[in-house]
């Protein structure tokens, strides 16, 4: 159903798109990182697209990716992008759905924030930052949401051991963090 969306995207944003595809009833578009904001704004505002409902935002860490039953070339190696940030969108008017994915390199995991377009992504991007350490440029309030401020590392990254424990040690330098000073 949403193949129309993919066709329209390829026609209009040929330069901004890496590839498109469908999997298990979900339409996916891989967008270049620098064009994300433009493509997303168009997806929201174009009447034929009208993706007004944000669904979720998350990230996939490909560090341990050795899929069985697939050719060895698909295994993750250091020259491939390590992270994929996924934004799932839905249109109330047209009933179509789309997943926008952006691939990010290991050493510079940053992309523009979509919290300005859809307020729902404000907290979801904070969650993605908290869990995966992805930096969202232009996010109004990028700080940890589930973990405590003293927490070191990003727990959902594949190189964070599952059994690792971190005692909560108060750090004085966090007491006067800017967002806290605001409440004083």
């Amino acid at each position: 159903m949403a193949q129309k969306v993919l066709d329209a995207l390829t026609a209009k944003w040929a330069d901004a798109i890496v590839r498109t595809g469908s999997a298990h009833g979900d339409e996916i578009v891989w967008v270049k990182r620098d064009s994300l904001l433009d493509v997303a704004t168009w997806l929201r505002d174009d009447p034929a697209m009208a993706f007004d409902s944000p669904v979720f935002c998350t990230c996939i860490d490909w560090l341990d990716w050795h899929p069985t039953g697939r050719p060895p070339s698909e295994t993750w190696t250091e020259d491939k992008p390590r992270f994929t940030v996924c934004y799932q969108l839905r249109s109330l008017a047209h009933h179509h759905r789309l997943r926008v994915e952006v691939e990010l390199p290991e050493h510079d995991p940053r992309l523009s924030s979509l919290a300005g377009l859809w307020p729902a992504f404000n907290w979801q991007e904070r969650e993605t930052f908290d869990m995966y350490g992805i930096r969202f440029d232009g996010h109004p309030d990028l700080r940890r949401i589930y973990m405590y401020e003293e927490f070191i590392g990003y727990p959902l990254r594949k190189d964070y051991p599952k059994e690792k424990r971190q005692p909560l040690v108060r750090r004085d330098d966090l007491i006067d963090a800017p967002h806290k000073a605001e409440h004083k």
């Binding site: 298990h24 050795h66 039953g69 799932q88 109330l92 307020p119 729902a120 949401i145 599952k162 409440h183």
Partner: protein, 417 residues
């Protein structure tokens, strides 16, 4: 010997009103920061709000979740697909069956057996899901009413919820953490006599809903505390990602069961109630109407449920029958591999979503061909709804935080994952 007023000040720690000077009479002009939570009797879950208040009025509320974070996603990446079911029970622990169904559907989607689950199993899934939706709404309304002082409504609804829990216990063996649904079907068939006991239960719940509506709908105190409180516009609700009863109260006509039909919902007839003003009262009214629709769906299910298998006939996902597992070596090995290695799901990614108690509950899975998910993400409606609460409480009084949070129905387990 100090005079009378000094003594009073010494003993009580404050002066009488008439003894105050003019400056002392005035309220302090600067804003005050108050911590509400993490553990507060009027908050449904464990959540902290740092309120900046001007007298009683909220200027800013910084809502901080995360106190119930139990690493659902990290744990799931290290468990087999079947072992995740008990974890999903603990997401929204008021309606665990719906979480079970959502997870099962997501795995079925990647496996390519989506929609091939036997009819009877699908009907059973809908029955237990709708019962879970009822327990969710009963808890939400009951607890909110109690927090506003209507204790009787709470007791009536919890009584009704207990009947449903008892029935679900006969189905799954556990009162709260059911782990009942499996990939490809359900773990066991409905018990004998379930039909009659559910029919009987629904009749009694009909009565309880009428009683509680009589207690609350025309109750001046309840009405005044709910009406016009925490209102949200339709556009805001959509852009903030609100779904379920909260979005519907704002006039967003969206229900996953109707708009992206799954399971056997296309064969069932039900209405989607929609509100107009988007305030707490509308959220309450939408939930009550949904309770009635659940009863309607359940009655149709009981009439239409066919006989037949409850598990898909596919050796990749179904355990071999016990008689075979005990008597043939092939089946025993299959049983062992199934339990130890898990269901082998081919590499791929999929997002499956169901209508949960609070709205669109989704699971996003990335599979890598092994028996354990490479990534498991839960799109929890509570988390999204909680993020709107900062806007909703702004400008209201501290006492209004209670009905707003009650009607947002944040479930700590689901919100914090």
């Amino acid at each position: 010997m100090p005079d009378q007023s000094t003594l009073k000040q010494l003993v009580l720690g404050r002066k009488d009103v008439q003894d105050l000077s003019d400056e002392e009479h005035a309220l302090p002009p600067d804003l005050m920061t108050v911590n509400m939570g993490p553990s507060h009797p009027a908050m449904h879950g464990t959540v902290r709000i740092v309120l900046t208040v001007d007298g009683e009025k909220i200027v800013k509320g910084d809502v901080q979740p995360g106190y119930l974070h139990r690493c659902f996603e990290k744990e799931s990446e290290h468990a087999t697909y079947t072992q995740v079911f008990p974890y999903t029970d603990r997401l929204n622990y008021v309606s665990p069956m719906i979480n079970n169904c959502g997870w099962a559907m997501a795995v079925e989607k990647v496996l390519g057996i989506y929609g091939k689950v036997p009819k009877r199993a699908e009907y059973i899934r809908v029955i237990v899901s709708e019962m879970s939706r009822m327990t969710d709404h009963l808890t939400c309304i009951g607890a909110s009413a109690m927090e506003l002082g209507a204790f009787t409504a709470f007791l009536y609804f919890l009584k009704a919820r207990e009947w449903l829990y008892e029935l679900l216990e006969t189905v799954s063996g556990a009162r709260l953490t059911h782990s009942y649904v499996r990939v490809g079907g359900v773990s066991k068939d409905l018990p004998a006599g379930f039909d009659a006991s559910l029919t009987n239960c629904l009749e009694r719940i009909d009565g309880v809903i009428a009683e509680v509506e009589g207690l609350l709908n025309n109750n001046k105190i309840f009405y005044d505390r709910m009406s016009g409180i925490g209102a949200m516009t339709k556009a805001d609700a959509i852009a903030s990602g609100c779904v379920g009863p909260i979005a519907r109260a704002c006039g967003v006509d969206y229900d996953v069961r109707r708009d992206y039909p799954y399971s056997v919902y296309p064969e069932l007839e039900f209405d989607v109630p929609v509100g107009t003003s988007g305030d707490c009262l509308d959220r309450y009214l939408v939930r009550v109407e949904e309770l009635k629709q659940c009863i309607r769906i359940l009655r149709q299910c009981l009439k239409q449920i066919p006989a037949g298998p409850i598990m898909i006939d596919d050796h990749r996902v179904a355990l071999p029958p016990k008689t075979d597992a005990y008597n043939t070596i092939e089946s025993m090995i299959r049983h062992f591999k199934h339990i130890m290695d898990g269901i082998r799901v081919p590499a791929g990614e999929a997002y499956a979503f169901v209508e949960g108690g609070n709205g669109e509950l989704g699971f996003f899975i990335v599979a890598d061909g092994t028996g354990r998910p490479y990534k498991a993400y839960c799109r929890s409606p509570s988390f999204v709804h909680l993020s709107t609460s900062e806007q909703l409480i702004k400008g209201h009084l501290i006492a209004d935080v209670v009905p707003i949070f009650g009607m947002i129905n944040m479930i700590g387990g689901e919100c914090d994952k």
